[in-house]
Amino acid sequence: MNQNVTEHSKAAAQFLKDENRAAWHDETLWFVRAKRDKAAQQLPEWESLREMASAIKAHTLAHLDEYLLIFEAKAKANGVPIHWAADAEEHNRIVYSILEKHKVKNVVKSKSMLTEECGLNHYLENQGVSVVDTDLGEFIVQLRKEQPSHIVLPAIHLKKEDVSNTFHEYLQTEKNNYDPAYLTKSARKVLREKFLTADAAITGVNFALAETGGIVVCTNEGNADLGVHAAQLHIACMGIEKLIPRAEHLGVFLRLLARSATGQPISTYSSHFHRPIKGQEVHIVLVDNGRTQQLGREDFRNSLKCIRCGACFNTCPVYRRSGGHSYHNSVAGPIGSILAPNLDMRKNADLPFASTLCGSCTNVCPVKINIHEQLWTWRQILMKEGYGGFVKKSSMKAMAVVLSNPRIYKFIGKVSRRLMQRLPGLVNNKLNPWYKNREMPQPPKQSFNEWYEKNKK
């Protein structure tokens, strides 16, 4: 894995340099959050739905081994082979081996954050297989050789002008035509051709039903259906945490998912796939890639309840002002920040600190993941493992000494305030990050403690 990633704080500062663009990014995502609020408010039972979804997921995770085996048996009985992948590498190998067997050269793929996590596109392209992402947002970022910056709105970091320029470069559309309808139609024309000529379709999975062995894929564009119905081969890739026990549970999740994601009452397409249509083959790849490890971490187990709605992204004031790419992980935002350290602590040690711990994520989450508490707990673990560095640790140790000894605290407080009054340049300088864009507080002559000692005691 690439260790030379830019820290979140630095990437975020870069993102914020373009003030207008940053404001636009914040407002666009806030608009989605506000739309979500309206949709949630329309359901008086919203909070109990969240409670129920969280409980169903907790139950499923507690019995994941059993439900996975039930799912496997049911799917096999439906004529769908199940493949088990321990990690990203095995997942990619399995997908390629199925494609190779069918001599597939062209693949259309609907949105799947799992395949992003596994780096599937890159892997397949190296094997000479062409993969086209058919979700419009993903299609745009794929042309630009970028990662999605948001799990539901992959190209949300781009404005229509960027899309126009990208399409002009890669699809030869009219230069400077920024009309969204024109741009969408142009993409549609290209994608139709890809759908019709693809030899295989890869999809993600939103929910897998243990009871029936079926999978459900939610899209707004219908691109999963178009791909699957036009191709002879369908490979569905899913993390093992996508399971829910019964079909009747689906209603709880579908109601929460679309409302939380975009404020829609329901996704435009909730497509159910149970068995291959005549002449077709369907395969499901079940991927672990760190999930059982996370399941074993008691403090972080709940993170596996995630249904990838992106509501925590939209609500996060830090995400809105730093952009998805600053998180250097396939899943960005608050949820990404508690999933990523599980995969690679060293690379992702900065992410749990990319938060003010405001707690909005926890309260917006449709499956009630205690995200901000997990961010806090990751901080403790990462520092214990030594990822904070010597300087931070030493200064924290010094701070702890001062703040736990009343006499030292009072003395340092008094001296510091005097110094700040007499030599303001000591703190009002470039070395103090606070001072870069903020004035320091005006130190008073007396602390409250000093005043109390003189006047009240």
Binding site: T356, K384, N405, P433, S447
Partner: protein, 244 residues
């Protein structure tokens, strides 16, 4: 009612006027207020930076200072949350538990324990309220825009009783200001931008003051306001409730 006054370290050092106001308010409503002289810090700066392991000294000192009272009251939601969630000690488990269960943020104490209706305050100004996340989401001092349920706000209820005070709300009612403890320096750019965005909303409302229940948020907002030479001032809710 024997009440111990907990004044967080940065209020003690930089905003003693908030501590005076809190002390006077509590005395005004008839509490027997004690201020333990050897109090320092709740330990949150280390804990939120990932070093909760270094807070044993703070915990010990806190328990030493704040045992033996009916209630502990503080003009800071954030520090109260930290104590409620993280004050533990091997030796003094019972004392720590008592403190965790009997520590209150000021507006919470005034509303739920003292059951104050009207403090007779007078503050003839246009005021914007900044809702601090820790008080709101972790102490439940007000409803949250993410959640579905009845609207309420302990701070607003108290401010509505203040004579001639005009309270104006921001469009984003409860967005974080970006202070976030050490976040304010480790993620300086995002922190400042968040603060600037909050301030822009209050500017649009043409307020004279921004108030709130946490001095940390106000200190951050004040730093930005002063840098842009704004006329808007920050004032802690205790100072307003204590104003005559």
């Amino acid at each position: 009612m024997k009440v111990a006054l907990f004044i967080p370290c940065y209020i003690d050092q930089f905003y003693p006027q908030v501590a005076f106001a809190t002390l006077q308010l509590l005395e005004k409503i008839g509490c027997e207020v004690h201020y333990p002289m050897n109090q320092t810090c709740c330990g949150q700066p280390m804990a939120n930076a990932g070093y909760a392991s270094l807070t044993n000294g703070c915990n010990k000192n806190f328990i030493q200072n704040f045992s033996g009272f009916d209630y502990i009251v503080s003009p800071s939601g954030s520090c109260v949350v930290h104590i409620k969630e993280h004050l533990y000690a091997e030796q003094k488990g019972k004392e720590a538990a008592f403190i965790r269960n009997n520590i209150y943020e000021l507006t919470e104490f005034l509303t739920d324990i003292a059951k104050v209706e009207n403090l007779g305050a007078h503050f003839p100004h246009k005021v914007g309220l900044h809702i601090s996340c820790h008080g709101q989401r972790m102490l439940g001092l007000s409803s949250m825009s993410e959640r579905v349920g009845p609207d309420f706000s302990k701070a607003e209820r108290l401010l509505n009783e203040v004579k001639e005070l005009q309270l104006v709300k921001t469009a984003r009612v409860d967005e974080c200001c970006g202070f976030g403890g050490t976040f304010c320096v480790t993620e300086e750019a995002v922190s400042v931008r968040m603060g600037q965005d909050r301030i822009r909303e209050h500017e649009r409302n043409d307020v004279e003051y921004i108030t709130g229940g946490d001095v940390s948020c106000l200190m951050h907002l004040e730093g930005i306001l002063k840098r842009k030479k704004s006329e808007i001032k920050v004032v802690h809710i205790a100072e307003i409730l204590n104003a005559q």
